[in-house]
């Protein structure tokens, strides 16, 4: 499902990411844990095809994304990868439902209202479909972001610090929700975080250390 070999990325000859071997199987969930500045966000961006590695290969669903053009990467990412960030980046002009549908449209999937409905239901957002994001609580807004990351049934969900801004209880809820939803939709989940509370919550853990 995800297979990384001899991945290197750096600026001005200084490596930021150097990972020899990394795999994730379908429906598995993994936490990549490391301190700030260890290059874990860069690693996530590389996996999403938002950055080009200096060397090495990244295979997602047996496609070598490092060989893809910019436009091909955009398409591939839209169709097969869902992303959740600490900051949610919901479109303020669109309603909750439109925000979720946007991911379907960008992935060139036909609009699937029942899929949106069931996600809203599952994430406790039923009845909020017509609301604008700024009317929602932080927790509700994050659940909208999770729904948006899953609505087009991606094979891989990448989450960057989804819990860092939340208190213990909410962090636990958010992580459980993310894991359960990804499982329910058949996606692998990779969470990148420095938040130690994530330890022990997901199937696998991968430690990253800053490169000297």
């Amino acid at each position: 499902m995800l297979d990384v070999q001899a991945l290197r990325f750096g600026y001005n000859g200084q490596d930021v990411v150097n990972i020899e071997n990394f795999q994730l199987r379908p429906r598995e969930s993994m936490a990549v844990i490391g301190p700030s500045g260890c290059g874990k966000t860069t690693f996530l961006h590389l996996l999403a095809g938002l950055l080009k590695p200096s060397s090495g290969t990244i295979r997602v669903l047996d496609n070598d994304i490092t060989a893809m053009s910019q436009a091909e990467l955009d398409r591939f990412r839209g169709q097969h990868i869902g992303m959740v960030f600490q900051r949610l980046f919901l479109m303020p002009a669109l309603t909750v439902r439109q925000n979720i549908e946007l991911a379907q449209q960008m992935a060139r999937r036909s609009r699937d209202a029942s899929r949106v409905d069931s996600l809203l239901e599952q994430l406790g957002l039923a009845g909020f479909g017509q609301q604008k994001p700024r009317k929602l609580s932080q927790g509700q807004a994050q659940r909208v972001a999770i729904a948006r990351a899953l609505v087009h049934a991606p094979a891989l969900v990448l989450a960057d610090e989804p819990t860092s801004a939340l208190d213990d209880e909410r962090a636990d809820d958010a992580l459980t929700l993310l894991k359960d939803s990804a499982e329910a939709s058949g996606a692998s989940l990779l969470v990148v975080t420095h938040d130690q509370r994530v330890r022990g919550k997901l199937d696998l853990e991968f430690e990253m250390e800053p490169l000297k």
Partner: protein
């Protein structure tokens, strides 16, 4: 569709900014549309009113004034000319048609034109009801006058002296409306047409009414006499200036003026070579009778008798004069003399070649002025054009301001939207789609502004048109399209795209990884 919806939704996010941009663009567009519509229609109206009139013969003075008064009925005439002089040119082989007009009176601001039936034909004005005039003091009115309710078939009215409301009224003799013309969209719609005789008849009387004044001004009169020719233009201008203020005096001045002209004419005639011996004799008679003319009513009969003697002369004149003769049999109070005057003679060329020679010949002779409407229209439009250009430039300043404002709004929002744009990339949008997205957003404001402007421009044009029709008799409408509008709209859309292009390129260049981290 997705992008259009997203762009539309974004515009509602900051409604005030969007509103200001749309209004600015709308204001600029409306101004340009208004100028375009007005410019084209003004040219069209002026050309339509001058259709069939290649050359206007009139008194010397400003050619623009002559054309404005004789063709457009928008100014006071520069003075009168002797019909006999004008007809010498009307008989020229290069002239296919010549229509005399006699101006000076009006009814409730509608001008009364003494002319021949040919005048209506010139504008293809058919009768909507009634008949054309046969008798003196019968009038045919234009469609707009009938529509305004001022006059209808069968009404009688008194012509007022002068071309604006409030002049001395010729209550002694009333016109009766015998016909109403169908609408033509030209100046005829707002004119009262009548025979030349009607106007002469009233003015003959008018001269007597002012008899006493004439004596009072005799001295002044003499003093002016010598200067008359040299200062013709000055005189003309002063004359105009006084005209608006002293309607009563105007008549009076005009008559004095005419008297001078007559004298000059007769001197000129003495020196001039005449092919027609008859005419010489004729002029001589005129001179003889001149001094009596304005003084005693009793002498009128003498003149009439004199006219009869010259019955033979009348025969080689056109049809109208035969009518004059008939008319005069019916009404012996009116003097028909060889020095009868008209304001101008509208002429059509028999051949286009006439345009190169005829006006020059007429003007070279000196006593008359020949002015070509086409040339004077061009001159007027050139003058109006300066104002139009200035207004147009101002309107384009508004458009450019609108474009800058749209640019500023988009560019300013980019910083706040960097994360949003990066998220769209994460969701699968390509860089090109972000480029299009921003252009669409800017373009939407332009489209709304331009649409608003086009609609408002046409509505305002229509309102101005209604006002002009009511007050100036100029027919303009907002319910029309001009070809340049299509060009304008395309041009404005280009402006809209240009205003969005820099923000769009910024969006295209968004570094997703950085934007996601920094927001």
């Amino acid at each position: 569709m997705t992008w259009l919806r997203l762009a539309l939704a974004n515009l509602t996010l900051s409604p005030l900014t969007t509103l200001v941009n749309v209004l600015l663009m709308g204001l600029g567009t409306a101004s340009i549309v208004l100028l375009l519509l007005a410019g084209v229609q003004l040219t069209e109206t002026m050309s339509r009113d001058a259709k069939g009139v290649d050359l206007v013969l009139g008194a010397q003075g400003s050619p623009v004034q002559l054309i404005l008064s004789a063709v457009y009925h928008a100014d006071v005439p520069p003075g009168n000319i002797k019909l006999a002089d004008a007809e010498r040119w009307a008989d020229d082989s290069r002239v296919s048609a010549a229509v005399p007009v006699s101006l000076g009176d009006s009814f409730r601001g509608f001008r009364i034109v003494g002319t021949t039936h040919q005048y209506a034909e010139l504008y293809n004005a058919d009768l909507a009801s009634g008949k054309m005039w046969d008798e003196s003091m019968e009038a045919v009115v234009g469609a707009a006058i009938a529509e305004s309710g001022a006059l209808a078939l069968g009404s009688t009215f008194a012509g007022a002296h002068g071309l604006v409301e409030g002049g001395h009224s010729h209550d002694e003799q009333l016109y009766s409306v015998v016909g109403v013309l169908a609408p033509t969209g030209s100046v005829v719609d707002r004119l009262v047409l009548t025979s030349l005789e009607s106007v002469w008849e009233l003015h003959g009387q008018e001269a007597h009414a002012h008899e006493d004044h004439e004596d009072d001004h005799e001295g002044e009169h003499d003093a002016h006499e010598d200067e008359h020719d040299a200062h013709e233009d000055d005189h003309e201008n002063k004359h105009d200036a006084h005209e608006e203020e002293h309607e009563g005096h105007e008549e009076h001045d005009a008559h004095e003026h005419e008297a001078h002209e007559d004298e000059h004419e007769s001197h000129a005639d003495e020196h001039a070579d005449h092919e027609d011996g008859h005419e010489d004799e004729h002029e001589a008679h005129e001179d003889e009778h001149e001094p009596h003319e304005d003084e005693h009513e009793g002498h009128e009969d003498e003149h009439v008798g004199h006219e009869d003697e010259h019955g033979d002369d009348e025969e080689h004149r056109d049809h109208e004069h035969a009518e004059d003769a008939d008319e005069h049999d019916h009404d012996s109070d009116v003097a028909y003399r060889e020095d009868i005057e008209v304001t101008a003679m509208l002429m059509s060329y028999a051949t286009p070649m006439a345009a190169t020679t005829l006006p020059l010949e007429i003007n070279a002779e000196g006593s008359l002025q020949a002015a070509a409407p086409a040339m004077e229209i061009a001159r007027i439009l050139q003058l109006v054009g300066v104002g139009m250009t200035a207004l147009g430039a101002f309107a384009w300043v508004l458009v450019v301001t609108a474009a800058l404002s749209i640019f500023a709004a988009l560019y300013g929002s980019l910083r706040a939207r960097r994360g949003e744009l990066a998220m769209l990339r994460c969701l699968g949008a390509t860089r090109y789609e972000l480029l299009i997205y921003l252009i669409v957003e800017g373009f939407l404001m332009t489209i709304f502004g331009v649409s608003l402007g086009v609609i408002v421009g046409h509505i305002v044009m229509e309102l101005v048109g209604l006002w002009l029709a009511d007050t100036r008799g100029i027919s303009m409408t907002g319910w029309t399209w001009v070809a340049d509008e299509a060009l304008l709209i395309i041009g404005l859309f280009c402006v809209g795209v240009v205003s969005a292009i820099i923000p769009a390129i910024q969006a295209y260049r968004t570094d997703v990884a950085t934007a996601l981290v920094e927001g």
